[in-house]
Each structure stands twice: as structure tokens, then as C-alpha cells.
């Protein structure tokens, strides 16, 4: 009998704060500007400069700490983390190694070990070769990003699969996004995730040797990368070989894992207290403000929606995007008695799809008022029009902002309520489509779909799907 293995995963997530200026100087934060235009003596680490901490970065960090249900520290200090690399102009990074701003939190089922403030490195670009420093012709450094305020969130090893990491990561991203303290855009690097992965026999409480996976830039890639690493470690252990502590890079285009460095090559960062900064002691007012200013966070909002009957999936979708949640609540408020579950499905399903289809319209710019959508949902719920006709109406509403009742009248989309008329169309559809009809009669019930489609086409979607099904089955002798 083979051993069952359990994966143990902890995350280190870097969040770039969206302050106006950098962590320790007055340079503007930017993305995509010309290289090295947002620099000054401080962030270039010229001789003689000193860091001056950004108060707003502290306020933003405290909000993140509060949202992650952490204890907020009343004593913050900074340390130097020393390493040589051209993207690190002082050759040390200022970070909080000993007294971070937040400890002992929790988001969902995952405990937060701590969160600390630090500064981001500059960006290196290696020209020629494979884009890595080895084999490149030249290396260029863009210091625009250097010194951007970063919050690093370190979880306890409470995660166990790639899918769980993806889901939790999405919750974390949505939570921080709602605080308005970061763009949390993984492609632009304002949210970056490293994962520590190990495996152990299921039920064991000991931790196996871990590997670290660096800088994956989407939660889908993280899920795939972690699953690939778990599989690799299982294969090693089952073959009786040891897992070696190393840092890995996952290449999403090939699905392969490459070793970046082994434990032996690991840096000795020679931490020391940063003598250029005095400890920062947030006032009680700052700590209170961080907690009191929190909006309703995604986890709480999703729970509230599920309580009123919204499906889990729709509840998550809505609560991850504040503007969608507000739209949804606008629909509920516009019409008494609208079923929240149905309304949520219309918002996250049909409306979202139609906006995407019509030139990727953002929700903020839609001509469809929540009240109009509520009216449309009512027409369908009251069976005045079919669900299919509802979609046709919505298409027109998204395109022109038309009133749903007007569209129904203009296009003659009222549901066929005369069952005699519908029955004729059903009989005709069976005659016109002998092959699927025969298949259904001989027991292949799935073939009925083609017949439903034919009826819907003939009625331009004005028939009630349930009634069509009933009549078809009746005439096919089921």
C-alpha cells in the first residue's frame, strides 16, 4: 500500500503600496514611464544620503495589518538586509526584520505570521541571451521602481494545494484591493507571491524539507507551479531520494521547474538595526484609524450574500469586486421581492458576459441601470418573457440603454402563453428533425437538446424552456 502525502505550503506575498511617493524619499511612484526619471540622490544611494520614512506608507501598512486581523505593533524598527546586486543601490535593503508592524493575524482559514514594511528593489533588464544575467550582453537598471514601499505578508504553513493557494491568494488580493492601498496587479508586479512547499506523510505533524518558488506572476501559474512541485517532491520521496532545499523558478510556458540557487549558495544577509532611522511608534489614533476605516471586506461580504441565498461562486465574484457588489445591491434595492440568488446570477453571469461581448465595456460605464436590470429580472421571473428572450433584451439594453419593457414590446418577445400554438411548433420540430427524434425515442435523452434548440429558433426564444421540454417528451412518448 502506498503512502498518502500531504503538501504543506506557506506564502510570502509582496504588496507594492500605491502611495504618491517612495518609501524613503520624495520621488513619485510610477509604472511604465521612461527609465530612471523618478530618481533622486536618496533612491540612487549617492554618498551621504539618508532615508526619511513615508508616513502614508505606514498608514497604508497598518490598514493591511488591520484587514488581516493582526495585532498592530506599537513599536516599529527597521533593519538593514545586506546583499550586493545592481538593483539594490545601497547594497542593503531597509526592512523590518525584528519589529514588524503587524503580527499574528488570520485571513480565511490561513494564519498570518506577520507583515512588515520594506522598500522595493530597482528593475534590472538583461539584454541579449535569455533575459537572465548569465549569457547576457549587458544589464540595465531602471531605478524608477527602486524604493517603492512594499508590505511583505508572511503566512503560517497552513495551505495544502495549488488550488487552495490560488483561491486564498485571490481572496487576499480582493481584500487588499478594497482597502485602496495597492493596485495589487500581478502582471505589473504590484502583487508578487513566493511559496514555500514541502510534503509529509498525511497525518504527520513534522515538516519536510521545503523548496522556495519565486516570483510567480499569476495565481493560475502559482497553482500549476505548486502542483508541479508537489508532484516532483512526491516522485523524489517515493523513489527514496531526498528533497534538496533550493529556490526554484516555474516556467509556465513549459511547465518545468528550474533551480535558481541551492541552500549552500544562500545569502548571509548580515542583518543589523538601521542606524539612520529612529523607531516609529504609531499613535493610538493611527492604530484606531487603521481599524475603524476598514470597509466591509470580501470574506464578510461573501458570507452575508451567501446568507441571503446567493450561490457561493457568485457571492465570491461579487465580493471580490466592489463595483460589482454595489451594482448587485442596487438591483436588490430597486425591486422588492427580487430573488438575490437569481439577481446575483444575472449580474455575474448574463450582464458580465454581455458587457464583455460588447467591446469589453467596464461596469462603471454601462448604460444599464441597476433598476432596469431589476425590471428585466422581474419580467423573466414572472414568466412574461422567457429566459432566452431576456438575454436578447439585455443585449439591446447594453447596446443602447433601452428600457426592457419597451424592447420586449418592440420586438414582440412576450412569451408564447398559448400552449396550443406552442404544441404545433413542437410537433413541426419533431417532424423536421427525424434523426434526433429517433435517437430520443430509442433512449438517447441527450439528443432532445437539438429539438429544444429548433423550437427556440422557431419561436425566437419566446417559448418557456420548461414547457417546451414537457411537450417534446410528451410527443416523443417518454
Amino acid at each position: 500500500m502506498s503512502t498518502e502525502y500531504e503538501a504543506v505550503i506557506g506564502l510570502e506575498i509582496h504588496v507594492q503600496l500605491s502611495t504618491k511617493t517612495k518609501m524613503f524619499c520624495g520621488c513619485e511612484l510610477s509604472f511604465g514611464d521612461d527609465a530612471n526619471v523618478h530618481t533622486c540622490p536618496v533612491c540612487l544611494a549617492l554618498p551621504g544620503v539618508l532615508p526619511a520614512p513615508n508616513r502614508t506608507a505606514f498608514e497604508y501598512a497598518l490598514k493591511i495589518g488591520a484587514a488581516l486581523d493582526c495585532e498592530l505593533s506599537s513599536f516599529n524598527s527597521f533593519d538593514r538586509k545586506n546583499y550586493f546586486y545592481p538593483d539594490n543601490p545601497k547594497a542593503y535593503q531597509i526592512t523590518q526584520a525584528v519589529n514588524p508592524f503587524a503580527v499574528n493575524g488570520k485571513l480565511g482559514e490561513v494564519r498570518i505570521h506577520h507583515a512588515h514594511l520594506e522598500e522595493d528593489a530597482a528593475k534590472t533588464i538583461h539584454t541579449g541571451g535569455a533575459g537572465r544575467i548569465q549569457g547576457s550582453d549587458a544589464s540595465l537598471v531602471d531605478f524608477n521602481r527602486g524604493g517603492t514601499p512594499l508590505v511583505e505578508i508572511v503566512t503560517e504553513p497552513d495551505l495544502h494545494s495549488g488550488a487552495q493557494v490560488r483561491e486564498w491568494g485571490q481572496l487576499l488580493r480582493a481584500t487588499i484591493k478594497q482597502l485602496g492601498v495597492s493596485d495589487v496587479n500581478m502582471e505589473e508586479g504590484s502583487l508578487r507571491c513566493d511559496a514555500n512547499v514541502s510534503i509529509r506523510p498525511a497525518g504527520s505533524s513534522e515538516l519536510g524539507t521545503k523548496t522556495e518558488m519565486k516570483n510567480m506572476n499569476s495565481f493560475r501559474f502559482i497553482e500549476r507551479g505548486i502542483d508541479a512541485e508537489i508532484a516532483r517532491q512526491k516522485a523524489l520521496v517515493e523513489a527514496g531520494e531526498p528533497v534538496v532545499q533550493e529556490t526554484l523558478h516555474f516556467d509556465p510556458s513549459t511547465g518545468e521547474l528550474h533551480s535558481l540557487r541551492s541552500k549552500e549558495e544562500a545569502h548571509d544577509y548580515r542583518y543589523l538595526p538601521e542606524p539612520d532611522l529612529v523607531p516609529v511608534v504609531p499613535t493610538q489614533a493611527m492604530l484606531d484609524e487603521a481599524r475603524n476605516s476598514l470597509p466591509e471586506l470580501p470574506a464578510a461580504r461573501a458570507a452575508r450574500y451567501e446568507e441571503i441565498g446567493v450561490s457561493e461562486q457568485a457571492a465570491l465574484l461579487l465580493s471580490f469586486e466592489t463595483d460589482w457588489a454595489e451594482y448587485f445591491e442596487g438591483v436588490l434595492a430597486a425591486k422588492k421581492g427580487v430573488d438575490p440568488r437569481v439577481a446575483a446570477n444575472w449580474v455575474t453571469g448574463e450582464l458580465s458576459a454581455e458587457l464583455r461581448k460588447q467591446d469589453e465595456q467596464p461596469l462603471a460605464e454601462t448604460k444599464v441601470e441597476p433598476a432596469a436590470l431589476a425590471t428585466l429580472i422581474g419580467l423573466v421571473a414572472e414568466k412574461k418573457i422567457s429566459h432566452g428572450a431576456g438575454k436578447t433584451v439585455l443585449e439591446e439594453m447594453v447596446a443602447s440603454g433601452a428600457d426592457p419593457e419597451t424592447v420586449v414590446a418592440d420586438k414582440g418577445l412576450e412569451q408564447i402563453s398559448d400552449s396550443g400554438e406552442l404544441e404545433k411548433i413542437v410537433i413541426q420540430a419533431i417532424e423536421d428533425n427525424p434523426k434526433p427524434s429517433e435517437q430520443v425515442r430509442s433512449g438517447n435523452e441527450k439528443a432532445i437538446g437539438a429539438l429544444v434548440g429548433a423550437v427556440m429558433k422557431a419561436t425566437q426564444g419566446r417559448a418557456d424552456g420548461g414547457e417546451v421540454n414537457r411537450l417534446l417528451r410528451q410527443h416523443l412518448g417518454l
Partner: protein, 487 residues
């Protein structure tokens, strides 16, 4: 009016007063001092200003010290003016900004005469660690001026500048002031902004004046001190600083840490120290024996802490963005060859010491232990200042030593800071004033002896008053060296 003899003899305050009274123009004063500086026979200057740029925008500013020129240690960044910290690794480096302290002097109306020689990155006690050659003592050019602010002390004592700006990490203002027979003040850590001052050991570095007398030191401190948004460790001195006027020491107590002075002090130095204690008593002050039980460990702790901070402060000199780039073969050789060629032996020694002290597995034993000693020393001084107003010692155990005398023995060089380092670790202010001349232990012409007075944190005004009273009673005359600066 003002003939050359009068200009040379005038203190900084007197020069500023003469200009303000219209007796002499700022341009005449600058011309005189630039001509003196051009005759530098001490290797005191690494760079000298040209007349027009030095005068532009400062001399007619109406500032309190308008037109009184000053020499600046080459550790301060000065926009458009080469700044090297006496290191080959910054040879030719021209900063795009000016240090806050230098900006304050400019705002006070002071033209910059030039940038002075120093030990590389302020690491040294003799100025022999300069990449651009040793600086000489104007009292005896076969001897060192002290360090690291050796150039700043030598040009003032040798009549090549009326006053100067230096920095002090473990004694780098006080010891050269003592060796050169002038006044050197290290203010409380945090009194003056460090922004734009090239860092050696950030938790200890503090800039301060080197001057002919105590009044000049007070005037410069008044211009220099203050909170700076760019330096979050700066706080300034509450209430500011005024020119001192005290002539008596009645009711003040002076603590002498005899345990620290048991050995290694030259007889001549000790004699001038004891003479000065008598002067204190004559002025109404009281001498009390005190203990600083942990001060004997100060040098050991200092030579862990300062190199540890230095090892990280100096990591930025990597050949990537500015200064020397000795190789661009690949990244590692750019780092290694640049730093191998760019740093001198004492800087390398301290980088290695500091790197070792911070290494994984050694941190607590070395850096952690040294921090604990530092805390004890801070407490020692708090206890002492609970009993006395001031703590006094010789500034250094010896007078200026000969060039090359201690270069082969770093530990004996380090011991020349035995009385200044504990005060640096405690972060409190101290001043060195000339206490007379003494014959060196090996014989030879008499050389200046420094007398150090330390006060509680931010008690600079009180310190300057006491130093002013004592200075009057000592009546030291340093004019013998004023012509020693010319080649």
C-alpha cells in the same frame, strides 16, 4: 582697513565683525585666505575654491557670518564640487547636491575656501590613511595632525583658514584639534543634520566646528544645529546656541575618571591636564573623582560597532552608478576589482572586521555584545552626570606623534582615541580646548595638549560657557603655528 597680519590673527567671529563693520570687504578677506590656502604646505586641502564661485550668492547674503570663509572636510557633499572622502573610489566624484550642514553655513553667508584632507572615509587617527597623501602638523611637519579631520585641524592651526568644519565618529574632531592646538567641538548626536555627510558609522557620526577659540565654535554651532526633515535622527538643540560669556566656574563640578587614566598617558600630557584642573579650581569649580566602570571596554566595543556599520555603509561603492569602476568584465569582477583598487588598507580592514562581526553565528557574540557594552557606557555617563556637571580628561594620551610611528600597529593607533571614544558611544557633547604645550615623550620641541570637557546630552550652551571661562584662564597662544602652514 585690515592688513594681512590682522586678518591672519583674527578669529572667525572677528573677521565676520570686521566685514560687518565695513572695515574690510568680503572679497578682500576671501582673496587673503585663498592666497594663504594656495600656499598650503601641509597637504591640508584636496580642493580649493575659485574666487568668483566662492563669493557668489553668499558674501552679500546678510547672514550673521557673512563673508567669513570656511574650510570644509571633504566628507561633506558639495554640489558641483569634487567630494572624495579622501578615497580613490570617489576620485573625481562630483555630487549633485549639498549637505544640509554646508547649506546652513552658506545661508549664514560663509564662502567655502576649499575641501580638506582627511583619513579615507574618516577611518583613522592620523590622517595618514588619505588616498591623497598624509596631511602634516603645522607645529612640526614631521608629525601627524591627528585624524580623521586632520586637514580641517591643520589648516586652521597653520593659518590656511580662519575656521573649518569636521566630523567626529570616535574622536575625529577632538583629537586633531588637540594635536594642533585649536578648539574642536563634537556636539550631541542629533544636534546637527548628517544629511550629505558621507557615512562612516551612522550611529556615531556627528559634524562640528574646528576653531581658534570657543566663541567661534559657539557661533558655528549656532548656524549648524537644527532639525532636518532629511535626517530622521536629527533633533537640533532646543533654544539654540548663543556666544558664551562666562568667566568663572563657581558652583560647577568637574568629574575626573581616574581609573581610565592609570596608564599610557605621556608625562607632559598629564602635567598640562593637572595644571588645567588647578585653573578650574581657581575659577571656583570643584574637582571630583568619578567612575566610568565600563569605559575601559569602549575601544573594543567601538571597533566592533563602527566597522559593522561601516561595512554596510561602504557597500554602495560598487562601481555601478558613480565613482571608480575598475573592471567591467562581469558583475563579480566589477565589484571585486573596483573595491580592491578603490579602498585603502585601513578601510578594507574595517570592512572585513565589520562583515565578520555581523556574520550569521557571530552577530550576537560580537555586534550584540558590543551593543550591550555601549548601553552600559551610556548608563555610566548618566550616573556620572547625576553627580557632576562635566566629565574631564586629556583629549588624547599623547601629543602629536611622528608620521609613520603607529601605522604598522593599528591597535596602538586605535588607543589614541581612548578618551574620546567613550563619549562618542554615550552620544554626549564634548569639546577639546588647548591646555598648553608639552614635550613629546621621545623629546623634541613642545607640542599642544588638548583638554576634553564632556557634558550631558544637549547641554552644549553650558559646555561652551565652561570652556569659555577656562580658555580665558589658560590663555593659550597658538600663533606660533600660524606661519607653519605655508610651504
Amino acid at each position: 582697513m585690515g592688513n594681512n597680519t590682522e586678518l591672519l590673527a583674527a578669529s572667525g567671529a572677528e573677521t565676520a565683525a570686521q566685514i560687518a563693520a565695513g572695515e574690510v570687504s568680503a572679497a578682500e578677506v576671501l582673496d587673503f585666505w585663498l592666497a594663504r590656502a594656495a600656499g598650503d604646505g601641509l597637504n591640508g586641502y584636496l580642493w580649493q575654491a575659485d574666487r568668483d564661485s566662492a563669493l557668489s550668492g553668499v558674501a552679500d547674503s546678510g547672514g550673521p557670518l557673512a563673508g567669513a570663509p570656511i574650510a570644509i572636510k571633504d566628507i561633506f557633499c558639495t554640489e558641483g564640487v569634487p567630494t572624495t572622502a579622501a578615497s580613490k573610489i570617489l576620485s573625481g566624484y562630483v555630487p549633485p547636491y549639498t549637505a544640509t550642514a554646508v547649506g546652513h553655513l552658506r545661508a549664514a553667508g560663509m564662502p567655502m575656501l576649499g575641501k580638506t584632507n582627511m583619513d579615507e572615509f574618516a577611518m583613522g587617527s592620523s590622517n595618514e590613511n588619505s588616498a591623497f597623501g598624509a596631511c602634516l602638523n603645522p607645529w612640526d611637519t614631521g608629525r601627524v595632525p591627528g585624524g580623521s579631520s586632520g586637514g580641517s585641524a591643520a589648516v586652521v592651526a597653520g593659518g590656511l583658514a580662519p575656521w573649518s568644519l569636521g566630523t567626529d565618529t570616535g574622536g575625529s574632531i577632538r583629537q586633531p584639534a588637540g594635536f594642533c592646538g585649536i578648539v574642536g567641538l563634537k556636539p550631541t548626536y542629533g544636534a546637527i543634520s548628517r544629511f550629505g555627510m558621507i557615512a562612516f558609522a551612522s550611529s556615531l557620526d556627528q559634524c562640528g566646528p574646528l576653531t581658534r577659540d570657543v566663541t567661534d565654535a559657539a557661533l558655528l554651532l549656532a548656524a549648524l544645529q537644527g532639525r532636518d526633515e532629511m535626517d530622521s535622527t536629527s533633533v537640533g538643540i532646543e533654544g539654540g546656541i548663543e556666544a558664551p560669556s562666562a568667566e568663572r566656574l563657581d558652583g560647577l563640578t568637574f568629574g575626573v575618571p581616574r581609573d581610565l587614566m592609570r596608564e599610557g598617558i605621556e608625562a607632559g600630557v598629564l602635567a598640562r591636564f593637572e595644571d588645567t584642573l588647578i585653573r578650574i579650581a581657581e575659577l571656583g569649580g570643584e574637582i571630583v573623582d568619578i567612575e566610568l566602570p565600563h569605559a575601559e571596554h569602549a575601544i573594543s566595543a567601538y571597533y566592533v560597532l563602527a566597522p559593522a556599520e561601516a561595512s554596510t555603509n561602504l557597500s554602495r561603492y560598487d562601481g555601478v552608478r558613480y565613482g571608480l569602476r575598475a573592471s567591467d568584465e562581469d558583475l563579480l569582477s566589477m565589484y571585486e576589482v573596483t573595491r580592491e583598487e578603490g579602498f585603502g588598507p585601513e578601510v578594507k580592514r574595517r570592512i572585513m572586521l565589520g562583515t565578520y562581526a555581523l556574520s550569521s553565528g557571530y552577530y550576537d557574540a560580537y555586534y550584540g555584545g558590543a551593543q550591550r557594552v555601549r548601553t552600559r557606557i551610556v548608563e555610566d555617563f548618566q550616573d556620572a552626570f547625576g553627580q557632576v556637571d562635566f566629565v574631564v580628561t586629556p583629549t588624547s594620551p599623547t601629543v602629536a606623534f611622528e608620521l609613520g610611528e603607529k601605522t604598522a600597529d593599528p591597535w596602538s593607533m586605535y588607543l589614541s582615541d581612548i578618551f574620546t571614544v567613550p563619549i562618542s558611544l554615550a552620544g554626549v557633547p564634548a569639546i577639546s580646548i588647548p591646555a598648553g604645550l608639552a614635550e613629546p615623550e621621545g623629546g623634541g620641541p613642545e607640542l599642544p595638549v588638548g583638554f576634553q570637557i564632556a557634558a550631558p546630552a544637549f547641554a552644549e550652551q553650558k559646555l561652551l560657557e565652561a570652556a569659555h571661562a577656562l580658555e580665558g584662564a589658560i590663555g593659550f597662544d597658538g600663533s606660533a603655528a600660524l606661519e607653519g602652514g605655508l610651504a
